[in-house]
Amino acid sequence: MVETFLAFIGRNLFLVFGLMAVGGALALVFSKNAVHSVVGFLFSMLSVAGCYLCMSAEFLAVAQLLVYAGGIVVLFLFVVMLVEMTKFKEKGLFQSQTPYALVAVAIGAAAIVGVFVSTWFTKSADVALTLDPGLARGLDVAKENSQAVSRGLFAGYLLPFEILSVILLVALVGAVTLAKKERV
């Protein structure tokens, strides 16, 4: 009994990690305490790293751990401690529109689950990391993971990658624009 259960989990690790990520996200949204929210976020990000591992994208998994678990969560904790959260407490999560929204969300979620059940993901889930055959030349994508990522970034997806760098710059400029003390 236990063995079959463990075997099932072993076969569906991606599913397990995915559900854990969703659970973490729900904890993030619904917990009243901001610190608990951050912990839920951390849990969710760790589970996503697990999902990456299941798809044998080791490099991405480690990067996810370093960036999110290492950097961003710490940053969030700082913000939570610096900003006084108590004054937002009385604002309820539920408003007059909540029932309608819940019904709409339930219908949408049912439709999406129905679609997933009826089409059940085909082969794409276990393809490790897809790379243009031209780019993958001379590369065992499943083993040489970081090389594959770098080829993706600097050859196949060079343009979006560079646009992304501009987006990050814009985020910085925007933060300065909105927060700078004086403007002339």
Binding site: V115, V170, G174
Partner: protein, 485 residues
């Protein structure tokens, strides 16, 4: 080594395609640092002139860009790309000109304002040429992120901050939906490609069992785009964001991002999902009809000019979606381009007049237009021409651009939609004419007459003159658009 050499070779080959974007990016970054160090406090308004020059130079570069596809087929330059790039650059220049009055009044000039406009325009230039869902998504984000910040630019005004936060949250949410849709399509086609042309081929070969997944993916991408162009029922953000934003940014939002997103909309659905035309026609037709009806009916009840134009722009997007619906992709895109061009002319003039009347931010109600014909006859005449053209009353240029769109829709067999479009145009004429009536048949309010600033009157004069000139050549406009695109 050979791989790296190959990379360098393709980079050198592809770079000429994006020279305009590179120019703007480099200029904006240099403006922020070190450029701003050398400009004294109080003189930041000088950056406006630099921005206009950079945008005009980029427009020149666009005219010299060779046609072709590059960056692993992520970006494509063709007539459509160039045509919409001109529109976005023109909208950027108009925005910078219109900004001067309000920014000077608020003493809120800064280099970041202009840099953000430049970055946003870069995103648009990438977006109109994006031929891959990944590059579409990233350029869309670059364009939108800058606008979120610009909407909240007057941070000491609660309305501005509220508009920015609302727009940002809803925008981020809709981006999530768009991205989810893209990933579903990516998975459904076997997880190999996001390129639009490849996707179209793969989607045609899919077995019937994965139809639902594809449909869901396309529906989500549709929702994402409808949000970006503010089509009903995804328009909730737009009146608030239009209302709270600095008025020049409102003008910007109603022109440039709409043009760029509609171009990408037409390209993604025309060339990417063109093979599945039957699947997305019904939802998109519903969205178009709802936008026309709700946009025009809601505009009837507005008291402020900015909200009126916000709702009417929702309706105009509904008309332009007729072009996206067309299975004749080049014809649809030409009609959209022409409509967007005339819309840009009229909007820039209308917003110029609003900015003049608005001053520091109080007088933007429709009541403020009362008796304008008495106090400022020239301005009132310009506003009348622009409003009549927006309403699509013949023989003004707005009529011709509507006519081409509706003709195309009828040729494609969307008769019901066209009838709805015609009926709602009549509704639109009512609220536009109400403003004209207020200008000509009501007594002006007491108070001194404000002087007209030079730049604003330049924009208004240009816009009115071009609308009148376009009226003369109305019958040849579509052929002319055909030579450009």
């Amino acid at each position: 080594m050979s791989f790296a050499a190959g990379l360098w070779g393709t980079l050198v080959r592809d770079l000429p395609l994006i020279y305009p974007q590179l120019l703007i990016l480099v200029a904006a970054t240099v403006m922020l640092w070190p450029g701003d160090v050398f400009v004294p406090k109080g003189g930041k308004g000088q950056w406006a002139a630099v921005t206009v020059v950079v945008l005009a130079a980029a427009a020149f570069l666009v005219s010299r860009t060779p046609s072709g596809m590059g960056f692993s087929r992520m970006y494509q330059v063709d007539g459509i790309t160039r045509g919409f790039q001109y529109l976005c650059l023109a909208a950027g220049i108009i925005t910078v000109l219109l900004s001067q009055l309000q920014l000077n009044l608020h003493k809120d000039q800064s280099v970041e304002y202009y840099a953000l406009i430049l970055y946003s325009v870069t995103g648009m230039l990438f977006l109109v040429g994006a031929s891959d869902l990944v590059s579409v998504y990233f350029s869309l984000e670059l364009m939108a992120l800058c606008i979120y910040i610009l909407v909240a630019y007057f941070r000491e005004q609660e309305r501005s901050i509220e508009a920015g936060v609302k727009y940002f949250l809803l925008g981020a949410f809709s981006s999530g939906i768009l991205l989810f849709g893209i990933s579903l399509l990516f998975a459904a086609t076997g997880g190999v490609t996001t390129n639009l042309a490849d996707l179209n081929e793969k989607l045609a070969l899919l077995p019937a069992s994965s139809n639902l997944l594809v449909f869901l993916g396309i529906l989500m991408v549709l929702v994402g785009f409808c949000f970006k162009v503010a089509a009903v029922p995804f328009h909730m953000w737009s009146p608030d964001a239009y209302d709270g934003a600095p008025t020049a940014i409102t003008a910007f939002m109603s022109m440039a991002p709409k043009a760029a997103s509609l171009a990408a909309f037409a390209r993604v659905f025309g060339s990417g999902f063109g093979g599945l035309h039957a699947e997305w026609t019904a939802p998109l037709a519903f969205v178009a009809a709802a936008s026309m009806i709700l946009g025009n009916v809601a505009a009837l009840r507005q008291q402020t000019m900015k909200r009126l134009l916000a709702y009417s722009s929702i309706a105009h997007v509904g008309y332009m979606l007729l072009g996206v619906l067309s299975s004749n992709v080049p014809g649809g895109v030409q009609a959209i381009w022409l409509y967007m061009l005339t819309y840009l002319l009229m909007q820039s003039g209308a917003f110029g007049i609003i900015i003049y009347l608005q001053g520091k931010g109080e007088g933007e109600r429709i009541e403020d237009f009362r008796g304008l014909a008495r106090t400022r006859p020239v301005l009132a005449f310009a506003m009348m021409v622009i409003l009549l053209s927006l309403a699509g009353i013949p023989p003004l240029v707005g009529f011709f651009s509507k006519f081409y769109l509706f003709k195309l829709a009828i040729e494609q067999g969307h008769v019901t939609l066209t009838v709805i479009a015609l009926l709602t145009s009549a509704v639109a004429a009512y609220y536009y004419l109400a403003v004209v009536a207020a200008m000509y048949f009501k007594e002006p309010a007491e108070g001194e007459v404000k002087p007209v600033s030079g730049i604003t009157s330049l924009v208004v004069g240009m816009s009115c003159a071009l609308v009148l000139a376009g009226t003369l050549f109305g019958a040849y406009l579509l052929d002319w658009a055909g030579t450009i695109l």
